[in-house]
């Protein structure tokens, strides 16, 4: 069984009649994902690539047993769409929309917490368990997805959608497949941070190693390092952080409060140090991920 999703996952796409959502719905279907319904208020009765559209998530759940949602609605409607899905009993919500204001994001995350649901994103291109199922736009059309993502033993968690595909593609051409790849989302506040996904990967028998793609800003990587130090993690973790040059760029402004809340965290060098300190193997160059993975998987 894969993590988060598999071939039995039943997906509803909120905002399915939008241009982008319609095209990734087609890609998901073609990949074999069960997209059972779509939701766009006022468009009930329509079909998008054969998928029936409803006005509410409730109807999608009642008629099709949907248990997972992909949300691709304009930023101002995203909070409500996510809460509607959770209220209807959806357990996993992958939020594709970007530029959702943070005060909306914390509300939808609180709502998910209060109802025992999980959010991936916002600003997530999606997730994939290669060969089984995928959420949202990750990997693009099937032909492209198959070139980049192949089944295997390594879980990939990434803050960048594009670099997740790049990383998995480079792994795949080097004969290293993925147990799951999750684009956690590019925003400062997200439903599932790296360290919050680690327990799932620890339990997953198919995952033998983990790759992390990080970026400058926020404390996602430092928090991951703290988590590993405190709770331990039995599988090797390889990390790469893009954008180190930003550390030296002028115009980085932080208020006093930001510095007090995060300490001096946020810089790429600081992140790498924290991760190394927690026993994570840190790649300085992106292609070094492959070298390190081959070592930990004893492929040579």
């Amino acid at each position: 069984m894969g993590i988060l999703i598999d071939e039995n996952t039943r997906v509803v796409v909120q905002g399915i009649t939008g241009r982008e959502a319609a095209s990734f719905t087609e890609w998901m279907l073609d990949y074999g994902t069960k997209v059972v319904a779509g939701v766009t208020p006022g468009k009930e009765g329509m079909k998008v690539h054969g998928v029936p559209v409803y006005n509410t998530v409730k109807a999608a759940v009642e008629n099709h047993d949907a248990n997972t949602s992909v949300v691709s609605v304009p930023p101002r409607f995203t909070k409500d769409a996510v809460m509607e899905a959770i209220d209807a009993g959806i357990e996993l919500v992958s939020v594709f929309t970007e530029r959702v204001p943070r005060s909306d994001v914390i509300e939808m995350i609180q709502f998910a917490k209060d109802h025992g649901a999980r959010i991936i994103g916002p600003n997530s291109l999606g997730s994939i368990v290669p060969g089984k199922a995928k959420l949202a736009a990750i990997g693009g059309p099937t032909e492209e997805t198959n070139k980049a993502y192949t089944p295997g033993p390594v879980a990939v968690l990434s803050r960048s959608g594009g670099m997740m595909t790049e990383t998995c593609s480079l792994m795949s051409v080097n004969g290293i497949g993925q147990s799951v790849a999750i684009n956690v989302g590019g925003d400062p506040i997200i439903g599932s941070m790296f360290h919050e996904l680690l327990p799932l990967l620890e339990k997953d028998p198919e995952t033998r190693a983990v790759v992390i793609y990080g970026e400058p800003g926020t404390v996602a990587e430092e928090t991951l390092a703290d988590y590993i130090k405190e709770h331990g993690f039995s599988k090797p973790v390889v990390a790469f952080i893009g954008g180190g040059f930003v550390d030296k760029m002028p115009g980085q402004r932080f208020g006093h409060a930001a510095v007090i809340v995060t300490g001096k965290k946020g810089s790429v060098e600081g992140k790498k140090e924290a991760l190394r300190d927690a026993g994570v193997l840190v790649a300085d160059y992106h292609s070094e991920i492959i070298t390190l993975l081959k070592e930990v998987l004893k492929m040579k």
Binding site: P75, R76, R99, V100, P101, R102, S103, V105, I106, E107, Q110, F111, I138, G139, G140, P141, E144, K147, A148, S158, R159, S160, G161, G162, M163, T165, E166, S169, L170, V173, G186, P188, I189, M193, Y213, E215, P216, T218, V219, A220, G242, G243, G244, F245, V246, P250, G251, R253, G255, H256, A257, A258, V259, I260, V261, D284, Y285, H286, S287, I290
Partner: protein, 443 residues
Amino acid sequence: MRLYEYESKMLLEKYGIPLPKRILVKTPEEAAKAVEELGGKAVIKAQVLTGGRGKAGGIKIANSPEEAKKLTEEILKMKINDFPVVAVLVEELLNIDKELFLACTYDEVAKQRIMLISDAGGVDINEVVEKDPSRVYREWFNPFYGMMAFKAKKMADFLKLPKDADRALQSVIMRLYNLAVDYDTTLAEINPLVLTKDGKIVAADAHIEIEDDAMYRQQQRLEGMGIHDRPSTPREPTEFEKLAEENDMSDHRGVAGRAIDFGGSLGCIIGAGGGSLTTFDAILRYGGNPANYCEVGGNPPVKKVYGLAKLVLSKPGVKGLLVCHNVYSNSRVDLVARGVIKAMLDLGINPAEYPVVYRGAGAFEEDGYAILRKYGVRYYDRRLGMDQAAKLAVEMLKLIEEKEKEGKSLEEAQKEVAQYIKTEEFVKKVLGEEVAKKVLEGL
């Protein structure tokens, strides 16, 4: 968007937070008059989009209108952390007993708003708190419950102020929280929040930042207060950056821009977001000298890539080109290739004779490769890592510059290197036998 102190204080005022009397001025003469109005003595404060003004000499006490005139003249000429001083706030001189600190921001890990309060307010807050974290009290807020009176009471009680001041502080805490929520602030900070000798609580400074992604619901009322949207970078964009921005704005589809001028000799057409960061890092780590940073992604049309490529290729000092993007699933490899080739042809550059390292992969890659082959450009596919492409490009530039040192003209050097980098020998030298074999096979 960061607000100026005087704008931040307009918001505090709206929420009934006590403030010193103050007058915004733009000239030394106005400053002199303002000081007179405030009783002959006042604080002269630089209005600038950065902190640490006090330490940089942007906050001065004027003991007379004459002095105010002189100080204002000096302060208006200042740049602080590269940011220009746009005006001066002439402010009532407070009789300070204690400087406190109060702020509301987001905690990314708790995923809630957090408020911070401390008695170590003032220009040295960070140093003091780093040494002694116990000087700050933190309170987190469930967004559905919001501010509750007891939370403000707990926070204020941390400072153990006299009863009236404690009451006043609680009220400021609640008001600041409400302001933060209503205005989508990522930061609402009062440092210092002053306890005056006569027991009053007054906000002597304010720093508010409003989330860019929330501007759609904030812009209108901010404009109503005379607060306009603005870029947050200190320096003026260079000509290259301006043109690149114009080109990117010429069509709403995708991105072919976010260009930053680095002044070097390696022109870069890189993408998308994370891919640009990753490639650019590698260029710098390998000792390269990039002409520019940029991002190409989100499926831009040919004309935008063309526009950007033309700007990069004709940028003074550019001697060679790196095209490198992560595996595209949404953007099209062929459209990027088309844009780059068209730019070369328009500039009278023969693509086959120009030094370029081209690494592209993803959607419509076969069509892209066909175009590149047709024009004699050596390309690499997904087997070549992005950092490896960067290394090839950095070495390519070194070869060009070596030849120039040997006395060859730039055109000669470019022509020779353009041919040499297409050989297996070059790739082997830079990346080693094993990698070279792997990435070149079948190309």
